[in-house]
C-alpha cells in the first residue's frame, strides 16, 4: 500500500516523462484491443448476415435403425412439415470414371433434386438432377467443375457421355465453382452427382436404406427449429435411443468464418504483443535512468534501514504501476476509438465494442511486462551498496 503510494508519487512528479514512457504500452494496448475488437465486431456481423441467408443446414447420420429403416418416401413426407425445410438423403461411393479426355477416381454422390437448393449450389452449365430422373433411375449425372475440366477437358460438355465403372451416363449439368469456394464439399477433388436410384443400382455395396441426409431450416425459421423437429421424429422412430443417430448443425460458412477469425485474431494479437514488448523495453530503459538518477536516494533509504527487498519492491512497483497506467490509458483510448468507428460506419450497422477477453489479456500482459522489464532495474537498485550510493555524485 505504502509502496503503491510512493510509486504513484514518484511517477506524478514527472508527468510528461511518465506519459512518454508509457507511450509504447499505450500504443501496444490500443493495437491489441482495437484490432481484436474490430475483428470480432466484423465477424459477428458477417456471421449474423450469413446465418440470416438461411444457408444453415444440418446433417443427420443414422447408425442403428432398430429394424425400422428410413426410406426416401418417409423423408418426402417429413419435408412437408412446416417446421422442417428441405430434406435430401444421400449415399456416397467411389468409382473410376472414363471421360473423353482422361480417366480418374471420382467420388459419387447419389441424392435427390432437393440437394441443389439445400446446399446452395449454382450451375455453370446445364441443369441439376430432376425428380423425374430419380423416379426413372435415369443414367444422367452432374459433374463438379474439377471433374468436368479433368475428365472432359472443358466445362462445356453437356450431353456428352462419361463412363462410371463401365456404365455410361449422360452429363446434364456442370456445377459452378468459385475458386477456393467454402461451400464446395470436395475442394479440388472430382465429384459426380447421380440420381440416388441410379447409384444404388450401380453400386454393389450400398443399401436402399437412408442412413445419411441433410435438413435445412424451414422457411422463415431457424436450424434449431428443424433440429428439434427432426430429433423428435427420430427419437420416436428409434425407440427413444439417443445413440442411434446423430444430428449436427454444420454450417460450413460459419465454421470457415470462425477459423479465419481465430487465425486473424492470433496474428493481430501477436503483432500487438510484439509492440507491447517493445513498450516494455521502453519502460525498462526509463527505469534504468531513474535508478541512476536516484542513486543517492537509494543510498539514503538504505542508510536509514531499507532492506534489499524494500528497494526492489519500490522500483518494481513503479514499473508495474507505469505499465498498468499505460494499460488503463490504452484501454480507454481503444474504447474511444471503437466508439468513433461504430459511429462513423453506422450505415453498416456493425457495433464494435470492447472485447472483455482481450481487455483481460491486455491487463495481464501489461502486468507481466511491468514485472519482467522492471525486475532488472529494480534489482540493480536493490544491489547498490549504501556507501557507494550515498557518495554518488557528491
Amino acid at each position: 500500500m505504502m509502496a503503491l503510494k510512493m510509486a504513484l508519487r514518484s511517477i506524478s512528479s514527472n508527468k510528461l516523462r511518465a506519459v512518454l514512457t508509457m507511450l509504447g504500452i499505450i500504443i501496444g494496448v490500443m493495437a491489441l484491443v482495437v484490432l481484436v475488437s474490430l475483428v470480432n465486431g466484423a465477424t459477428t456481423s458477417v456471421t449474423d448476415a450469413v446465418s440470416g441467408l438461411g444457408n444453415s443446414m444440418m446433417s443427420v447420420t443414422v447408425s442403428d435403425d432398430k429394424g425400422s429403416p428410413i426410406d426416401p418416401a418417409l423423408l418426402n413426407q417429413w419435408s412437408e412439415r412446416t417446421d422442417v425445410g428441405l430434406l435430401a438423403p444421400y449415399w456416397t461411393d467411389s468409382a473410376t470414371a472414363h471421360g473423353r479426355e482422361e480417366s480418374g477416381s471420382v467420388t459419387l454422390y447419389g441424392t435427390t433434386a432437393a440437394w441443389y437448393a439445400l446446399q446452395g449450389l449454382q450451375m455453370e452449365m446445364g441443369r441439376w438432377l430432376k425428380t423425374a430422373d430419380i423416379e426413372n433411375h435415369s443414367y444422367v449425372c452432374v459433374l463438379n467443375n474439377a471433374a468436368a475440366e479433368e475428365l472432359m477437358g472443358y466445362t462445356d460438355c453437356i450431353g456428352q457421355a462419361v463412363r462410371l465403372d463401365g456404365v455410361e451416363y449422360t452429363i446434364v449439368g456442370v456445377l459452378y465453382e468459385e475458386d477456393g469456394s467454402l461451400t464446395s464439399l470436395s475442394s479440388g477433388g472430382m465429384t459426380v452427382y447421380l440420381p440416388y436410384t441410379s447409384l444404388l443400382r450401380l453400386s454393389d455395396s450400398l443399401l436402399g436404406d437412408v442412413t445419411r441426409f441433410y435438413v435445412s431450416a424451414p422457411e422463415g425459421g431457424t436450424v434449431d427449429m428443424a433440429k428439434t423437429a427432426i430429433t423428435e421424429l427420430l427419437m420416436e422412430r428409434f425407440e427413444e435411443d439417443e445413440e442411434a443417430f446423430s444430428v449436427s448443425t454444420q454450417d460450413v460458412l460459419e465454421n470457415a468464418m470462425s477459423s479465419i477469425t481465430s487465425v486473424l485474431t492470433i496474428l493481430l494479437g501477436g503483432i500487438a504483443a510484439i509492440s507491447l514488448v517493445v513498450g516494455g523495453i521502453g519502460i525498462m530503459n526509463i527505469m534504468l535512468v531513474t535508478v541512476t538518477e536516484r542513486t543517492r536516494e537509494i543510498g539514503i533509504r538504505k542508510a536509514i534501514g531499507a532492506s534489499r527487498g524494500t528497494i526492489l519492491s519500490q522500483f518494481l512497483m513503479e514499473a508495474v504501476v507505469l505499465c498498468m497506467l499505460g494499460c488503463a490509458l490504452g484501454i480507454f483510448l481503444s474504447w474511444a476509438i471503437l466508439q468513433t468507428v461504430t459511429t462513423v460506419v453506422s450505415s453498416l450497422e456493425i457495433t464494435f465494442s470492447l472485447d472483455g477477453g482481450v481487455v483481460l489479456i491486455a491487463v495481464l500482459f501489461c502486468f507481466v511486462i511491468g514485472l519482467v522489464f522492471g525486475l532488472y532495474p529494480a534489482n540493480k537498485a536493490a544491489k547498490m551498496k549504501p556507501i557507494d550510493a550515498l557518495h554518488y555524485g557528491g
Binding site: A303, G309, L390, G394
Partner: protein, 223 residues
C-alpha cells in the same frame, strides 16, 4: 556501546593502496558524547561509515552493542542501522521529493511501525527539533539549518542507541551550527549516546571526550 579493535580499511586507487584506517581502536560507552576530530583526509568519514555499519572493515573486530558486525548479512545490517543508529550527515541527505514529515516517517515505515504510533512519534521528533510548523515543507523549501534539524528528527525518531553525526555543522554558518550542537547537547542530556565527527576544534571540545584521528590512527586527546 562501540568496541573497535585494530580496525583497518584500505582503498585501492589505481595501483596505490590508501590506508584510510590503520589499526584503529575505539571504545565508546553508553550515554557518552564523544567527538572525533581530525584534518581532512584523515579517515573520519571512513571511520563513521564503519561505526554506522554502512561499510565493513578489511581487518579487525567491531562490536556494536555487543553484536559482531562482521557476521551479519547486508539485510541484517540494514535492520541494525534502522534500529540502533541515527545518522546525521554533513549534506543532510533528505529525500527531496518527500516532505519533512515524510522524511522523518521513513525509518519508522521500514520498521513496520503502525500508522497511529508513527504519527505520534514523528510529531514528537519534529517538536523536539522545533519544526512542527514546517512539517509539510519539502527540503528545498527549508533553510540549511532547518534541513539539518529535519535530519536530526529523522535520526532520533527510532529512539536509536547511537546517534552518529558526520560534520553536521560543516555546511552551516557558525550560529546555525551552534543551534544544531545545542540540540545534540539536549539529546545527550536525555541519555542518548552521541558520536560527533568534525574538523572544527570549537565544535569538538563541546563533547565530553574527544578522540583525535590522523592518517587513519586514533589517539585520545584533551581539548
Amino acid at each position: 556501546m562501540i568496541d573497535m579493535n585494530d580496525i583497518s580499511k584500505v582503498y585501492l586507487v589505481g595501483d596505490e593502496r590508501v590506508r584510510a584506517l590503520d589499526r584503529a581502536s575505539l571504545h565508546i560507552y553508553p550515554k557518552e558524547f564523544v567527538s572525533i576530530i581530525g584534518p581532512s583526509g584523515s579517515g573520519k568519514s571512513t571511520l563513521m561509515n564503519i561505526i554506522g555499519c554502512l561499510d565493513v572493515a578489511d581487518a579487525g573486530a567491531y562490536r556494536l552493542d555487543g553484536l559482531p558486525i562482521e557476521a551479519y548479512s547486508e539485510n541484517e545490517l540494514a535492520a541494525i542501522r534502522n534500529e540502533k543508529i541515527g545518522f546525521v550527515f554533513q549534506s543532510f541527505n533528505l529525500i527531496p521529493k518527500l516532505t519533512a514529515w515524510e522524511n522523518v516517517e521513513l525509518p519508522l515505515i521500514y520498521q513496520k511501525v503502525k500508522r497511529p504510533e508513527r504519527q505520534q512519534r514523528v510529531a514528537a521528533a519534529l517538536e523536539r527539533v522545533g519544526l512542527t510548523n514546517r512539517a509539510n515543507h519539502l527540503p528545498t523549501e527549508l533553510s540549511g539549518g532547518q534541513q539539518q534539524r529535519v535530519a536530526i528528527a529523522r535520526a532520533i525518531v527510532t529512539n536509536p542507541k547511537l546517534i552518529l553525526a558526520d560534520e553536521p555543522t560543516g555546511a552551516l554558518d557558525s550560529k546555525t551550527g551552534q543551534e544544531i550542537i545545542d540540540i545534540f547537547h539536549e539529546l545527550h542530556a536525555q541519555g542518548n549516546t552521541i558520536v560527533l565527527i568534525t574538523h572544527d576544534r570549537d565544535v569538538a571540545k563541546q563533547a565530553e571526550r574527544s578522540v583525535h584521528i590522523l592518517d587513519g590512527r586514533i589517539t585520545e586527546v584533551q581539548l
